[in-house]
Amino acid sequence: MNSLLPAPAMNSASSRFYKLCATVLNTASKRHQSTYRRTRKRLNIKPDPAFLPSKTEAHDHIIYNPPPSMPNIYHTPTIFLPKDDKRRLLQQQQSQPQLAAGTSTGVSSNKAKMPPPVRQPYTKKYHLKEGDLEEMRRLRTEDPDTWSANKLAKKFDCSVLFVSIATDGIATRKKLQQELVTEVVKSNWGTKRRLAREDRAIRREKWYSDA
């Protein structure tokens, strides 16, 4: 079972291989070589021990060393399975010995460190009252140029999305003005920039369908 688990990232087979290749193929400081023979000889590297015949196994056996790949979405995560699905019990049984093997005690396995979050998770405050919202709308109506959505969000300590919902339909003139400016800027783009921007938009659409 332990041999199937991936090795720690620092000592993985591929990282060692790439380091070796880098040292072997670094010919920057060396003199000109007229043939490829020396390089070929240096590239004849002993394979990773994972691919060599095992010393513990007497007979032929299967070497399980798959390349890294994205998880299959047809393998439903345990939490998504209905309560009465048989796979739920199976996956729980499968995951428990691994946790025990990875850590010395069960207590520390519960406190296993999670990877760092992309954004710091926050809790919603719900601190704004009706009076605050009226103040927000008043500022936006009186001087939309000074009181942009961003500034209002900072002043009232809320998100820009909330400001846009609260002050929806107030500064229509500013919105139209901004659209006009964007149009003028876009009309000055050349073919290359326009194509690059369009390609980027197409690639972005793929985020929402591929997986």
Binding site: P71, I73, T76, P77, I79, F80, P117, R119, Y208
Partner: protein
């Protein structure tokens, strides 16, 4: 009550099919005989006449008679090598007479007489096809959103798929329909050779409002909100507006596209198998030719706000709110960084995505998590139609989901 046992290629059980418009002008016994199928309708003279003919030598029909017929005579189907080969190639049940197979190849634009074209078969076949396909999709993936179910229905039994199946079965179209044509060809009146813009199929079924023709007058295009539940009630099995009867009558005089004729042929074959060989045989035929086709359901999804959808889903199901976490990254400050981000609910990983920016990886991870929610498939799913047979197992109710997330 005595059970009626059908014979092999039992042409004798077919209802009499005659062409009334030919009786007054044609006194020739040949024609009456060649367009009359059952012994029940024929007079004694005709039977005697028929028994005189040896089976190896079919009745001779003069060319001028043949060319007057809109579709090949029924006798011709018994001698057509193409038809027999098609019957064998599709391993159709032996109870399906070869004459009926010939009739499924005649489109209603080739022969307007409903006794000689496949229109009645194709109506039945279409209903069977829609029923079998929808139960297959919904029982296999009970959580699938309805928009995806429509797209999957179109991919399994839409006109494009049926046209492909016709090609795969090796059925060729005749250049023009007529009595002298080999009955093994697919016969339909072609559209005049002018550019006909094909209507695009619902590859991505949108849930937004769309321009729809009003049911009363197809010329008036009105803007109406077409919600998904609206589609289930008013639209056809692919979530598209039903075509009106006026449009069909215009088609009949003009001709049809090859795609439409092929689709009608495949539907008619299923209808004919059902009528002649029964429910079990038609189910088997469907399994062999339709359930064996592969469709990647995951490619039919298109989300708008995946991260929002996922947090709504977690709130609805009582999971902890989803948090995106960086599993691994490389080259953050380089030109080609790669981030691998996983979405976690508590300690459970819901999905994983890779991308060249944190935003991309996070979005892809949310999409993967949503897809793995929607593409849940029970271990032992069973079709309702499988329990119709006498010796079937007890029906166990399938899982019914709450429905897709509405943001």
């Amino acid at each position: 009550m005595k059970a009626v046992r059908l014979l092999r290629w039992s042409g004798s059980v077919l209802s009499p099919r005659t062409r009334p418009e030919f009786f007054p002008i044609r006194q020739s016994i040949h024609l009456i005989q060649c367009r009359t199928q059952a012994t029940a309708a024929a007079t004694i003279d005709h039977i005697e006449e028929a028994s005189d003919l040896s089976p190896s030598q079919p009745a001779y029909i003069p060319e001028d008679v043949l060319t007057r017929l809109p579709s090949p005579p029924i006798e011709a189907s018994r001698t057509s090598a193409k038809l027999a080969a098609l019957h064998a190639r599709l391993s159709l049940p032996s109870r399906l007479p070869i004459e009926t197979l010939a009739r499924t190849l005649v489109d209603q634009t080739a022969d307007h007489n409903p006794k000689f074209n496949n229109s009645s078969f194709s109506v039945l076949g279409n209903d069977l096809l829609a029923y079998y396909t929808s139960e297959y999709i919904i029982c296999q993936y009970p959580r699938l959103p309805l928009a995806v179910v429509f797209a999957a229905m179109y991919a399994y039994c839409g006109p494009k798929a049926l046209a492909t199946i016709t090609r795969e079965w090796g059925v060729q179209p005749a250049a023009a329909p007529g009595g002298e044509v080999d009955p093994g060809f697919l016969q339909f009146m072609r559209l005049p050779p002018e550019p006909q813009p094909e209507r695009l199929g619902p590859e991505l079924v949108s849930t937004q409002s769309a321009m729809v023709a009003s049911p009363n007058n197809p010329n008036i295009v009105e803007k109406r909100r077409r919600s998904i539940s609206n589609r289930t009630v008013y639209d056809d099995e692919f979530g598209e507006p039903k075509s009106s009867g006026i449009e069909q009558s215009i088609d009949l005089s003009q001709g049809v596209t090859m795609e439409k004729a092929s689709a009608n042929f495949v539907r008619a074959v299923i209808g004919a198998v059902y009528l002649h060989a029964g429910r079990a045989a038609s189910k088997q035929f469907y399994k062999d030719h339709f359930m064996s086709r592969q469709l990647n359901m995951a490619s039919l999804f298109q989300f708008r706000t995946p991260t929002k959808d996922l947090s709504k889903l977690c709130a609805r199901e009582g999971f902890q709110p989803p948090i995106a976490r960086i599993l691994s990254e490389t080259g953050r400050l380089s030109r080609h960084p790669v981030f691998v981000v996983g979405v976690f609910s508590g300690k459970e990983k819901l999905g994983e995505g890779a991308g060249s920016s944190l935003d991309e990886a996070r979005t892809r991870a949310a999409v993967a998590a949503l897809k793995s929610w929607y593409l849940y498939s029970p271990l032992d799913w069973k079709l309702p139609s499988d329990t119709e047979e006498a010796n079937a197992k007890q029906w166990v109710p399938q899982m019914v989901d709450q429905g897709d997330v509405v943001v």
